[in-house]
């Protein structure tokens, strides 16, 4: 049985909560174009 993906969590100072759908969309957009630095050959 496939595991459900874990919700994305956001922390603001001491408070940790699930991201809202809008925050999830913004977060995914922000990491969509994030070139990884070169890995060792």
């Amino acid at each position: 049985m496939a595991e459900e993906p874990k919700p994305l969590m956001i922390q603001i100072d001491d408070k940790v909560r699930e991201m809202t759908p809008e925050e999830v969309a913004a977060h995914k957009a922000s990491i969509a174009d994030a070139p990884q630095l070169g890995a060792p050959e």
Partner: protein, 176 residues
């Protein structure tokens, strides 16, 4: 110059205390499996310049660490110069009106860090940053600037892959 040594029960001269260079403004523990951490009340009028560190935590995946000032989602410019431990080739990575400073730390499952100096994030003047790139495989330095001149009190740190668990973010003010 002779640096003071403080002992319990002795009078602390104002001149000694006023010479203390770094002041811990805020300390924030990072939770478990978080995709971002926002630190509010980090910057204020007491200090022009700050040092920000994140240590003691780990990432769920290899990641670069990003830093966003306040709620600003554009206007970040910078250049990182880095290499990997496997060789001596030096490469560059840039932020050209990016949504945040994108290469100001990093890590992996063995450890994650952010080591940055921020110039005038609150005081008048453009906010500048210099930071260490360290993903555990790639190492280098990053220098950047945010346009326009904006007064920030908070920042958000986040990995560009996976989540962070544990560790502490510390913000130190550099005495003016």
């Amino acid at each position: 110059m002779t640096y003071p040594t403080f002992t319990n029960g002795t009078v602390l001269p104002a001149s000694d205390l006023n010479a203390i260079g770094l002041w811990l403004v805020k300390s924030q523990t990072v939770g478990t499996g978080v995709s971002s951490v926002t630190v509010t009340d980090a910057f204020n009028s007491s200090f022009d310049n700050y040092m920000v560190t994140y240590t003691g935590g780990v990432g769920s995946a290899l990641h670069n660490m990003r830093l966003q000032l306040g709620s600003a989602t554009s206007g970040y410019y910078g250049l990182g110069i880095y290499g990997t431990f496997a060789g001596t080739t030096v490469s560059g990575i840039n932020d050209n009106n990016a949504a945040q400073f994108r290469y100001v730390g990093g890590g992996d499952a063995y450890g994650s860090t952010l080591r940055a100096t921020l110039i005038t994030p609150y005081a008048t003047g453009l906010t500048s940053i210099n930071a260490i790139i360290d993903t555990g495989t790639s190492f280098g330095t990053y220098v950047g600037r945010y346009y326009p001149d904006t007064q920030f009190t908070a920042f958000t740190m986040s990995p560009d892959s996976g989540t962070l668990t544990g560790g502490t973010i510390r913000v130190y003010g550099m005495r003016n």
